[in-house]
């Protein structure tokens, strides 16, 4: 079920009506059933993967907590990691690695034909495996106590608002909310309303209206494009992927809020970042903090001197790239982000830690934002391109061809029409350091803003419905 579909909202009306008529225990049971229906509606066969992950991690975590033997604890943790990463590896990476392995062997003259499997990637597998892994790892690290309530734990793994595209919630944050009686605080309805409406706006109005421009530019032969068209295509994709993913996260947070849950923020105005570290503290926050806590810091983080810090950054971002997809473009995307993190860290080391995070003038601040946005756009080229060849050709065009064509003016006008109001709103929330600014704004501001979003949702639904990009990860 997609958040931008009628069937989801019919489903949610039924869920919320039942929810408020039930006591806490039965609310959780009903949400568990609803979550399995939500996921099974896409493909019921893959419910077994969620169930197996749930069963394994439930028992592994209890056994880890029961045991004082470090070897046993470690083996149990490895069992959880092997199960979850085993599923992820098989469904997501098998074909990529078998193809690459075969081509390496053939370069040494060994002809081999490893079987290529016709594997469907289960929706959201990268999200829920990371979520349940954090539970067993945190139990192993004695940061949380595992729960013995199997059905409540099953709800933690499968909670439908964030099941298929995050935010990747930690057990320390979400599980207590499942176990305790939830109360709807005063602003829950307003906040949920803002998050849902703005999330739908970002997905349907921004992302889906950018999609045809992006698809047109990336499906044309590079020889038929100008460098300026490629640049406009990258801007369009930057806002498409942002609207798509942050829109989903916002709706997830909003509908959870209406049920008394508080999910973490996954995006905080990322295109106002001044440095790559700043960007990753604003973009897909639940993944970047997961990678920081479970990969970067265990590798030594930034504590071991410049060289090892740089190595850790690149290695972490490489794995972050691989998480997004089994392909060289994703791997190079991760390495590119690792590289710019290293460069910015090196500049920080020379100029001082506050150089990018607290610029000395407004001009510098704007310059840093603009430079980082364009570096991010180059990384989006790697993310969106079909092949490294397309990346190379488009980069060459970007640096050599500045022809302004009819299509580029058409596409740029579209971007300005759809995106400029959103960026203006985000600028205000950035200045006020309050992502929920609208909820506290004057009645007139609220009325105008909501009316604008509702009218845009009414009139500017694109003709072709688009799926959520992050469902493929």
């Amino acid at each position: 079920m997609l958040f931008n579909s009628y069937i989801f909202w019919a489903f949610f009306v039924v869920v919320i009506m039942l929810y408020f008529r039930l006591q806490h225990k039965y609310q959780n049971r009903m949400l568990l059933i609803a979550s399995y229906i939500f996921y099974g509606y896409w493909d019921y066969r893959f419910l077994s993967l969620i169930f197996i992950s749930t069963v394994v991690d439930y028992f592994v975590a209890l056994k880890i907590a029961d045991s004082d033997d470090s070897k046993i604890r470690k083996r149990l943790l490895l069992l959880s990691i092997a199960t979850n990463l085993g599923f992820l590896g098989f469904f997501k990476y098998y074909n990529f690695f078998s193809n690459e392995f075969a081509s390496i062997l053939s370069s040494f003259g060994v002809d081999t034909s490893l079987p290529v499997l016709n594997i469907i990637l289960p929706v959201g597998i990268s999200f829920y495996t990371f979520q349940t892994l954090s539970y067993t790892i945190d139990t192993y690290r004695k940061k949380i106590d595992p729960t013995d309530k199997f059905l409540d734990f099953a709800l933690y793994v499968s909670f439908f608002p964030q099941l298929v595209a995050g935010p990747i919630e930690r057990a320390s944050h979400l599980l207590p909310q499942i176990l305790q009686v939830r109360k709807l605080q005063g602003a829950a309805f307003s906040e949920g309303l803002f998050l849902v409406v703005s999330g739908l706006f970002k997905k349907i109005v921004i992302a889906d209206n950018m999609a045809p421009i992006v698809n047109t530019i990336f499906s044309k032969p590079v020889s038929e494009l100008s460098g300026f068209e490629v640049l406009i295509g990258l801007y369009a994709f930057a806002f498409q992927i942002y609207g798509d993913f942050s829109g989903y996260s916002s709706i997830a947070k909003g509908i959870a809020r209406w049920m008394g849950f508080e999910l973490m923020w996954n995006f905080r105005n990322p295109y106002f970042a001044t440095s790559p570290s700043d960007f990753w503290s604003r973009w897909h926050i639940s993944l970047s903090t997961w990678i920081r806590d479970y990969i970067y810091i265990p590798l030594g983080g930034g504590r071991l001197g410049n060289f090892l810090t740089f190595r850790n950054l690149v290695l972490t971002m490489f794995l972050g790239g691989l998480w997004h997809g089994a392909g060289w473009t994703f791997i190079v995307w991760g390495l590119f982000h690792g590289a710019i993190l290293v460069v910015y860290h090196a500049i920080d080391a020379v100029k001082g830690k506050d150089y990018f995070t607290n610029p000395s003038s407004l001009g510098k601040h704007i310059l840093f934002v603009v430079v980082l946005f364009h570096l991010t756009c180059i990384s989006w080229l790697l993310f969106r391109a079909e092949s490294m060849r397309q990346v190379a050709d488009m980069l060459y065009l970007l640096s050599t061809d500045y022809r302004i064509t009819d299509y580029s003016t058409y596409a740029l006008a579209n971007i300005l029409f759809f995106v400029a109001p959103l960026m203006f709103f985000e600028y205000i929330t950035e200045r006020k350091s309050d992502l929920l600014y609208l909820v506290k704004a004057s009645s007139f501001t609220q009325y105008v803003s909501y009316l604008y979003m509702v009218l845009m949702l009414l009139f500017f639904v694109p003709l072709q419905k688009q799926v959520f990009i992050y469902f493929q990860f």
């Binding site: 579909s5 009628y6 069937i7 019919a10 005063g186 602003a187 309805f189 307003s190 309303l193 999609a211 045809p212 698809n215 047109t216 499906s219 009819d406 299509y407 003016t409 058409y410 006008a413 579209n414 029409f417 909820v439 506290k440 009645s443 609220q446 009325y447 909501y450 009316l451 509702v454 009414l458 009139f459 500017f460 639904v461 003709l463 072709q464 419905k465 688009q466 799926v467």
Partner: protein, 305 residues
């Protein structure tokens, strides 16, 4: 913020939407020529029913609307026939079958010749319906079960059908969008048309294509059945388009068997780009020639029967 405040904001927005709904109903005919034409359909049907002459109704979309000059054709046929067009933009067999059912057959309008101009798979049940337009203009609530039977069975489609029945604001959203963007975005029409012609390079379309069942013409057959019962005759025309297109053997056989006349005009102006104004629709020259061609074929046929 308290609940009362939230409800007041929502109420104000609902009220604004209601006022917009009323406004759009008042100015509906001014939104576009197409809306005006759709709202004029009952008048056209009324004219047909009141006229004593044999009637010829051209049913289709902008392809046949742009291709047929009714004045020229009428003069060629010595004004012997009542000639009318019902040709709302972007329509297909879904809309045509509902227009025929609700405006003609259910109203007992005597029709002698129904001329349907089509291209691509517009006669196929697999063509995507526009549920809000069907709900808003062409179908009745009682038609819903029939539409579901024909394949408009997705939850989203049925939902849009209902919203279309109740809100003209919703039905006209595309027209408003196009009007606004056309005034703000340079080259809007040119690139949207190119995008539409190129099809939809997205995942959902591919899935639909993979899952598409074999061709089905339930709506077309039903329309012909009804026309037969009323004593009317179907003339089907495969319309010329610059790039050309395929017609399945199944459809050709069906039309040859069941239509009174089936005219394959796909290659009427083959490689003659000067006949088209945009690759799809005929220009003045193309229209004149197409109408002359129709007159030549129609005249002996009609006068002889």
């Amino acid at each position: 913020m308290n609940k009362k405040h939230d409800i007041a904001i929502l109420f104000a927005i609902a009220l604004t939407l209601f006022l917009l709904e009323i406004t759009i109903r008042i100015i509906e005919n001014d939104i576009s020529g197409n809306r005006n034409h759709i709202n004029d359909i009952p008048n056209i049907v009324d004219q047909i029913s009141k006229d004593q002459r044999p009637s010829v109704l051209f049913l289709g979309n902008s392809l046949i609307n742009e291709a047929v000059d009714v004045g020229q054709l009428s003069a060629s046929l010595n004004d012997t026939y009542r000639l009318n067009k019902i040709t709302p933009d972007g329509t297909s067999i879904w809309d045509w079958s509902m227009i025929a059912k609700n405006q003609l057959f259910d109203s007992n309008v005597k029709l002698d010749y129904l001329v349907i101009g089509f291209a691509w798979g517009l006669l196929n049940d697999e063509t995507q319906p526009n549920p809000s337009r069907l709900g808003g203009y062409f179908a009745k609530l009682s038609d819903l079960s029939l539409l579901i039977k024909y394949g408009m069975d997705e939850f989203a489609q049925v939902s849009e059908f209902f919203i279309g029945m109740t809100s003209k604001l919703f039905v006209n959203r595309e027209a408003v969008r196009n009007k606004l963007l056309d005034s703000l975005v340079p080259h809007y029409k040119q690139f949207v048309r190119a995008q539409n012609q190129a099809g939809a390079p997205d995942d959902t379309t591919q899935v639909k294509q993979l899952r598409a069942p074999p061709e089905d013409y339930k709506m077309l057959n039903k329309l012909i059945d009804q026309l037969d019962r009323e004593g009317g005759k179907l003339i089907a025309i495969a319309m010329p388009i610059e790039a050309g297109y395929e017609i399945s053997e199944e459809l050709s056989k069906l039309l040859e068997k069941r239509a009174y006349l089936y005219m394959d005009y796909r290659s009427l102006f083959e490689a003659e780009t000067e006949m088209y104004k945009d690759g799809l629709h005929l220009n003045d020259k193309g229209r004149h020639l197409f109408t002359s061609k129709l007159a030549k074929i129609f005249n002996p046929e009609m006068s002889g029967k």
